[in-house]
């Protein structure tokens, strides 16, 4: 039974789908990294993902153009991000709770729209794999890394860009300053609220792309609550990766590989109850948090609203 897992075809399959399944985690958690680095915990990621997933699917389904779908999802994500920013920055609401509110809002609204506008589970033909010339012909590696769809490549590119922005640009410096010491940043003339508005809305856009990657690139369907906790795991991955893009990517890969293994275990009918297999990523998240939270310090101003003169 177990030795079925160790054939070349299966191992390549596990790794290739592991690389692919990391996509939603990557978009969502890189977006969340930006907003947390600037001091805002956006716990509404899951809700933003669901609305993004629905919008992308619905628009693609009706126009037949996946890019329109993606763009529409990004707009919805932007709106949700701006709402979260307004509530956390201007109204200084407790972020852990307002985020849950946005989650419920996204969960309910996406379900409502799904039932009202679609009614049944439909499918679209999502983004197709792009075989990169030469590289995709390399045995094993080609199948694993270079035969993926555009949103998968985009997710990994995003990690590199996020690292560059965070560590090599003034913008990154401002974001980190605002998250570590908003008072100091403010006295140097950096607008704390502008920076936070930017990062939180950016996070909203990326969460929506994460949702879209599920509905029009990986699974090509929309269902109620189709993210089933993925957005919350993405938030946990940011802690796990210690707020650094490449470490966050490491965490995302670890999770997607476990997930992919879990799916293949079910496909191959290996007798492990599927409920326990599905449970694994969550147990792993808790263990991962216990191990990592010890050694990395979170941004000092995380979840703390900023007000001049305090």
């Amino acid at each position: 039974m177990i030795d079925q897992l160790f054939t070349e075809a299966v191992l390549v399959g596990i790794l290739a789908s592991g690389i692919r399944l990391a996509t939603p985690y990557l978009y969502a958690s890189i977006g969340e990294t930006f907003s947390q680095r600037s001091g805002v915990l956006n716990l509404g990621v899951e809700g933003q993902m669901l609305l993004g997933a629905f919008t992308a699917f619905y628009i693609s389904f009706n126009t037949g153009n996946l890019w329109f779908g993606l763009l529409a999802a990004m707009m919805v994500g932007l709106l949700m991000g701006l709402a979260m920013a307004f509530v956390s920055i201007n109204l200084q609401a407790e972020q852990g709770i307002s985020g849950i509110g946005f989650y419920l809002f996204g969960l309910g609204l996406s379900d409502l729209l799904f039932q009202k506008l679609l009614g049944t589970v439909e499918t679209v033909s999502g983004f197709r794999p792009i075989h990169i010339p030469w590289l995709s012909d390399v045995p094993i590696i080609g199948k694993i890394f270079f035969s993926q769809n555009i949103l998968v490549y985009g997710a990994y590119l995003l990690v590199v860009i996020a690292w560059f922005v965070m560590n090599k640009t003034t913008l990154g410096l401002k974001i980190k300053a605002v998250g570590e010491s908003p008072q100091a940043a403010d006295s140097l003339g950096v607008s704390v609220s502008k920076v936070r508005y930017f990062t939180v809305s950016l996070g909203g856009v990326f969460s929506a792309i994460a949702g879209a990657s599920l509905s029009i690139a990986l699974l090509n369907v929309f269902q109620q609550n189709m993210t089933s906790g993925l957005g919350f795991i993405a938030v946990a991955l940011v802690y796990f990766g210690g707020w650094r893009p490449f470490a966050v990517m490491g965490g995302a890969l670890l999770f997607s590989m476990v997930n992919s293994l879990q799916l293949w275990v079910q496909v191959l009918n290996i007798p492990i109850p599927s409920d326990f297999a599905v449970m694994m990523p969550y147990v792993l998240t808790i263990i991962a948090l216990v191990i990592t939270v010890q050694r990395v310090r979170q941004p000092s101003a995380l979840t703390k609203p900023f007000e001049r003169g305090h």
């Binding site: 709402a83 109204l91 849950i100 409502l112 906790g229 969550y282």
Partner: protein
């Protein structure tokens, strides 16, 4: 002096009504959503009110729906007052229900008068342990409790799905092809007593009595004082000799306990078996999240949570009627609840602003006396 008292009372009234205004604002957005969906909001809200209060049975259903919200809300009052954000009500409710059900199934012959209190206690403890784990992780390993409680929810759901479709499955279902994930019906003797000839059961009364007890716990006992002190200023509490870590664990332990009890009463009072539909909220009906909404709405005050839970119970029962009358899926209520949460926590800013102003005013008028530095520990909210 008279005038000062007058304005004090007025601003307290505004504080109390703040969540009501916030909810009205959320409902206004809900009305726009309904309009966009082609439904008449007035008709929808009319259906909601009729569905929730229109008859004795409707009213009883509302109270039954409100019961788990109140119990979970009470737990939320405890943990949030201790500045511990418990998002794990869902999982704690599931584990409480699972443990109580397992006990009931294991001893079907025992007399109800023994089983019912025992099952409630076991449910209470089950939830407490499921809450205590993230509590201990926060206190001793510095793990963010928001994340760990969310993960514990997902783990509990999978555990429930496994048990209800495997080891604990109803023998009748086990032989069928459909295999509904549910346990066998508990012995009739274990049904929580009905209060009037409706679905209203003893659990509702227990929840109201517990609300009073939680109020006493939080504002009239040392334990409650410590939890609140840690919630307001962990550093000062540590200097005062309070074991901060222990209070954090206790806050989540107690918070989980009430959610566990909610699960046990749901099984013994409503379904008489544990049943789910395979989805994450199949058993709880999102009570773990809605309980947070109720507690926030009640301004984290156990007594205030009673009417708040009633209101949200009404929303949930009324939602079904909305679905029937104006053909808008009841998911609209989940979205609305989300908006209410956002609006209620956002409206807190006005209360904080006024409180700050009150403090500064007090300091200005009593220039010669030292400022009231320990104000938070003798807070007046509890006397509302």
């Amino acid at each position: 002096m008279e005038r000062w008292r007058h304005s004090e009372a007025l601003s307290k009234l505004v504080d109390t009504l703040l969540p009501v205004f916030a909810t009205l604002a959320a409902l206004a957005i809900g009305a726009i959503m309904l309009l966009l969906l082609g439904a008449n909001p007035l008709e929808a809200f009319g259906a909601l009110i009729d569905g929730a209060f229109g008859s004795v049975n409707a009213l009883a259903d509302t109270l039954v729906k409100a019961t788990p919200l109140l119990l979970i809300g009470l737990g939320i009052c405890i943990s949030f007052r201790g500045n511990v954000i418990n998002i794990g009500g869902e999982g704690q409710m599931i584990i409480g229900a699972l443990s109580a059900t397992a006990l009931g199934l294991a001893f079907p012959e025992s007399p109800g008068i023994v089983m019912i209190p025992l099952a409630m206690i076991i449910g209470f403890l089950g939830g407490a342990i499921w809450g205590g784990i993230p509590g201990a992780l926060k206190a001793y390993f510095n793990v963010n409790e928001i994340l760990s409680t969310i993960m514990m929810n997902a783990i509990a759901v999978q555990l429930m799905n496994f048990l209800l479709s495997g080891p604990m499955i109803d023998p009748v279902q086990a032989s069928k092809a459909s295999k509904i994930p549910q346990t066998a019906r508990l012995a009739n003797d274990f049904d929580l007593p009905r209060l009037i000839p409706t679905r209203l059961h003893l659990g509702t009364l227990i929840a109201v009595v517990l609300a009073v007890l939680v109020y006493i716990l939080l504002w009239r006992t040392t334990l409650g004082y410590r939890i609140r002190a840690v919630g307001q200023n962990p550093h000062a509490s540590r200097y005062a000799g309070i074991d901060v870590k222990k209070q954090v664990v206790l806050a989540l332990f107690l918070s989980g306990a009430f959610a566990g009890l909610a699960g046990a009463t749901q099984v013994f009072g409503v379904n008489h078996r544990m049943i789910t539909d395979g989805s994450a909220t199949g058993f709880t009906g999102s009570a773990g999240f809605n309980g947070i909404v109720a507690a926030l709405f009640g301004q984290l005050h156990p007594i205030g949570t009673i009417p708040a839970a009633f209101l949200f119970g009404a929303l949930l029962v009324g939602a079904n009627k909305i679905q029937r009358v104006v053909q808008v899926p009841s998911a609209v209520i989940i979205a609305l609840n989300g908006l209410v949460v956002v609006f209620v926590v956002s409206s807190e800013i006005w209360r904080r602003r006024r409180e700050q102003k009150r403090l500064t005013d007090a300091m200005i008028s009593k220039e010669d006396k030292p400022p009231p530095q320990l104000e938070p520990l003798t807070d007046t909210e509890g006397e509302a």
